[in-house]
């Protein structure tokens, strides 16, 4: 019995299968617990789009620097809440203070573009997301170049 289980576990071809079984088991257990889970309506990031505003994402123009209403978990940490990026890294904060250019465009620093599209308050998330993309790209390009070289 133990030996047979060992045989199944010791083949890495079975890896995906085993993992899928585990996920399915968890999902099955989860399905039974669903009735006990309630949806929390007052979401962390409420978003109402004011179509008449000059900051409407699909109608750029007018005053570039303005604030939108954004609810943050920790407003005291986000002094620039409501601007393009609520959290500024020390470097971008420095740039924003000495130049008028940062914040005038959504692609002013990595993460900025996703930042504005997704949420205004979670700067570190977007940095990590771009890092993941970058890592995946680095692996793929290395493998590709090695095949050619």
């Amino acid at each position: 019995m133990i030996r047979r289980i060992s045989e199944i576990l010791s083949e890495y071809e079975n890896l995906t299968f085993l993992y899928a079984v585990l996920v399915l088991v968890v999902l099955l257990i989860g399905a039974f617990s669903l009735p006990t889970i309630t949806y929390q309506g007052d979401d962390l990031y409420p978003k109402t789009i004011d179509r008449t505003s000059t900051l409407d994402p699909y109608d750029r123009g007018g005053e570039p620097f303005n604030t939108t209403t954004v609810a943050a978990q920790y407003p005291e940490n986000s002094p620039y809440l409501g601007y393009v990026t609520a959290y500024l890294t020390p470097l971008s904060l420095f740039l924003a203070e000495i130049t008028p250019h940062l914040g005038t465009t959504i692609v002013s620093h990595p993460g900025g573009i996703i930042d504005e599209i997704l949420y205004n308050t979670r700067g570190l998330d977007t940095v990590v997301e771009t890092s993941i993309l970058f890592t995946a790209f680095a692996i793929a390009s290395y493998l590709f170049r090695r095949r050619n070289g």
Partner: protein, 280 residues
């Protein structure tokens, strides 16, 4: 502080010696004297020492230092009544030391040891569920709180028997000559410590002595509750002898089977914890 460390190293090595002696007597051999392991460490430390040319030199030396540091941390966590979670984290970090020992030398035997160590690491992680069981019962993971709980409610050994069994397997897996000790099984020479000789080996043996002391003492503290030092020492030796009996009488399991058994135990613990979580 330093006196605790040195004391624990010596007691741990002495426990190793008792372990060897007990196994030998059970198997009808005279066995070495019980202070043999202490002499061993001294002998190793007097041997000529260098680093193999094939090794990843920095890593080769660093893991020895990390091994000692890791178990010193564990000892202090235990003594100050710190977080049980942290104690187990340190225990898992020991697996990294094992991997590092084997991988850093470049020797194929070390590598085999490291690969086996990776397998056993994967199976020991789920034994973490033990912690959840203790948390659900006592409502705290600080060792000092757990001791206070036991002083009020009696030993955890009876209240949380499955958790105790799981932890017993954890301790057993870490003993020399245990059925789970596939990492140092003799067909791969000395497994992951094959290339660590001389001073490096002496340092490692000291760390392992510390490890044995911490694991046995942790088991006593967690499941039998606070007790005077002398009684705790007696309990540790008794626990060690029970482990020696298992080690002496059972054969070395095949690497894959050890994993299956440990994962199986862990699965049972997970079910137990889930059930307890639902009921409580």
């Amino acid at each position: 502080m330093i006196e605790y460390l040195i004391f624990a190293v010596f007691v741990g090595l002495l426990l190793h010696g008792i372990h060897r002696k007990a196994i030998a007597r059970i198997q009808g051999r005279p066995g070495p004297p019980i202070w043999q392991e202490i002499l061993h460490v001294l002998k190793f430390s007097f041997k000529e020492t260098w680093i193999p040319a094939t090794a990843s030199q920095t890593l080769f030396v660093a893991v020895v230092i990390i091994a000692i540091g890791v178990w010193s941390t564990a000892l202090f966590v235990l003594l100050t009544g710190g977080s049980l979670l942290l104690l187990f984290a340190v225990y898992m970090l020991h697996k990294i030391v094992e991997h590092g020992l084997g991988l850093s030398s470049g020797s194929p035997y070390g590598k085999f040891g490291a690969i086996r160590s990776v397998m056993s690491a994967a199976s020991e992680i789920p034994l973490f569920a033990t912690i959840a069981a203790i948390y659900l019962i006592t409502g705290s993971l600080m060792i000092s709180d757990i001791q206070a709980w036991q002083a009020a409610h009696g030993p955890l050994l009876f209240t949380a028997l499955p958790a105790a069994i799981a932890l017993y397997i954890v301790v057993l897996a870490k003993m020399h000559y245990s059925p789970f000790a596939v990492i140092e099984s003799k067909e791969i020479v000395s497994g992951n410590v094959t290339e660590h000789f001389g001073v490096w080996r002496a340092g490692l043996e000291a760390a392992f002595g510390l490890k044995t002391f911490v694991l046995l003492y942790a088991f006593i503290v967690l499941f039998l509750g606070p007790m005077p030092l002398l009684l705790a020492a007696v309990a540790m030796v008794l626990l060690l002898l029970s482990l020696s009996f298992i080690c002496a009488l059972s054969p070395m399991l095949s690497p894959f089977d050890t994993v299956t058994i440990q994962i199986g135990t862990a699965g049972l613990i997970v079910v137990y914890v889930l059930l307890m979580g639902v009921i409580v």
